[in-house]
Amino acid sequence: MSVVVVATSASEWTALRVVDSLALVATATDRFLECAPVMLRDAVTGLLPDPWRWIANGLFAIVAIFAVFGLLFAFLTLAERKILGRVQNRPGPNRAPTPTFPFAKFLGKIRTYGLAQPFADGVKALTKEDIVPDGADKVLHFLAPVALLAFATLTLVVIPFGRNLVALQLDAAVLYFFAAGAATELAVFMAGWASRNKYSLLAAMRALAQLISYELPLLLSWVPVVMIAGSLSTVAIVEAQAGWKFGFIPHWHVLTPWGFAGFVIFMVAALAESNRSPFDLPEAESELIAGHLTEYSGFKYAFFFMAEYFGMCALSGMAVTLFLGGWRAPLPFLEFIPSYAWFGAKLLALILGFMWIRATFPRLRIDQLTRFSWKFLVPLALINLGNTVVWALMSGGSPALALARWPVCAAIIVVPFVWLGRAQSASYAPRTYRYAA
């Protein structure tokens, strides 16, 4: 996990600089497991002279992010295939053996129940021929996967993975997150255009249409959170969700009417933004020859997949931060478990949800996809924005008003949902053909 300690006050923050704050570690919490990552960081970088330490801290955070999420990517691919297999009543990959080492022949091949599969896949991707089409724009063709992975990794930087575990604390962290996420569209376009393949180009255009369509509900769905929390900083948003009502109901945003609606809209848009099924039209490997990835092979292809999983992790992490209370424990007596474990558990739960959805739903057509965004998600997100205003206005008054805001706000979001949903369901009626019988 990334380990750069929170600056004393966010307003003092001026530029891209990592603050070294050994003193803060002690004040945060005194449990060993809680501050173990920071202590590890300090043990490594404490050897350096002071002027170099902030660079070393930054490097440590980068290495930690790459190590954790690289491994997570490797095993998520395996978990995804295992889960898809189990959903389809088959075992999934389970026979990648360990290689036989010449110096330890007696061990033979050890069955790992598929745990070696990611490494076998990695070796395969590395040893495959890297094909670049003849007429392709060589530079852009190479740059596209690199840029995509870079942007996807950049988004991971501002997510607080635990108490004091955020690589870069920014005043406008949420905006930074979505700015970096929006730049992935550029990489998709580069991939499609540089391949010099009309199918790739068309697929890239289609992918862009999808990404731009779902950018809007994605952005609109987190604005209520910023309104309520009063800050664009991820750390402050997690702070805003601290505490428990009646001692056991956490103050998570997802447990309010507007928060729940925002969470659902966010997750649906996140599915589309990270090209996950049922919105995986940009790739659609089974029917659209993998879209803008058509002309990619070998490790560049693996890069695209890595970027997809990084993006999925980043969006899930952002959803956890914005709606699910970040690294906070759900119940007071469970706080002895380290904060990063809670964050990891929530992150994995969301990612498993992504996989479950992938295993269940068929792929949408492009017109259904864009209609769903523009005619359903965007209006609903706008209504939710107004809903949040109502909620915020009603919370200031008497206790009766504070109680009344629950049914009022629930009605404000549920009624349009049913109404818009009916219109949507009508538009998904069985297709009628004019010329066919």
């Binding site: 307003s11 001026t14 530029a15 891209l16 852009l140 920014l170 005043d171 406008a172 905006l175 930074y176 979505f178 700015a179 970096a180 929006a182 730049a183 569209e185 550029l186 376009f189 580069m190 255009w193 180009l201 255009m205 862009l208 731009i212 950018e215 009063g230 800050s231 664009l232 017109d367 538009s427 009626a429 297709r431 004019r434």
Partner: protein, 171 residues
């Protein structure tokens, strides 16, 4: 503190200059996006985080797509690309338009008082920006919103004019 500014400025200007000279329109567009990112970096250097990320979100994320779509949709044939700027009138017009923009920009730059001695960086938090936008500058915000809405509606009208006949795929 001045060195990063020089590097950012040089990179931005270099990228913009290369974008102008390239024959490949897509490459030019991508480099143009690079120069926008450079401007965002400048904002960031100046401590205006919010403006920097808004610049990236709007320009690198959205406007770039408009530019790229426009490039791809308007290029009908290879011959369109090779219009030589041989006409004197064309050249003069370009010079005049460029000169006018330059004049306005320089006028704005010279009209601004620049403190020679660096003072403390103004701390404009997001909350302050929001309150300014909703309070003092609410009218201009509304005007900008109206202009953008009109532009959006115009785009929809232009795009939907030749869709009279083909309605069988409406659902």
């Amino acid at each position: 503190m001045i060195l990063p500014l020089v590097i950012i400025a040089l990179l931005t200007i270099a990228v913009a200059a290369i974008a102008m000279t390239l024959r490949n329109l897509i490459h030019s567009a991508l480099l143009l996006i690079g120069s926008w990112a450079g401007i965002a970096a400048f904002y960031f250097w100046a401590g205006a985080e919010f403006a920097a990320f808004a610049q990236v979100l709007v320009y690198v994320g959205a406007v770039s797509m408009v530019v790229l779509f426009a490039v791809l949709l308007t290029r009908r044939s290879r011959a369109d690309l090779e219009v030589a700027p041989d006409a004197i009138g064309r050249g003069l017009g370009a010079m005049l338009a460029g000169g006018a923009v330059l004049g306005v920009l320089f006028g704005a730059v010279f009209a601004t008082r620049l403190d020679v001695a660096p003072t403390a960086a103004p701390t404009a938090s997001v909350r302050a920006i929001g309150q300014q936008l909703m309070g003092a500058h609410a009218a201009s915000l509304l005007v900008v919103g109206v202009i953008l809405t009109v532009a959006l509606l115009g785009a929809v009208v232009i795009a939907s004019t030749d869709r009279e006949g083909g309605k069988e795929d409406a659902r």
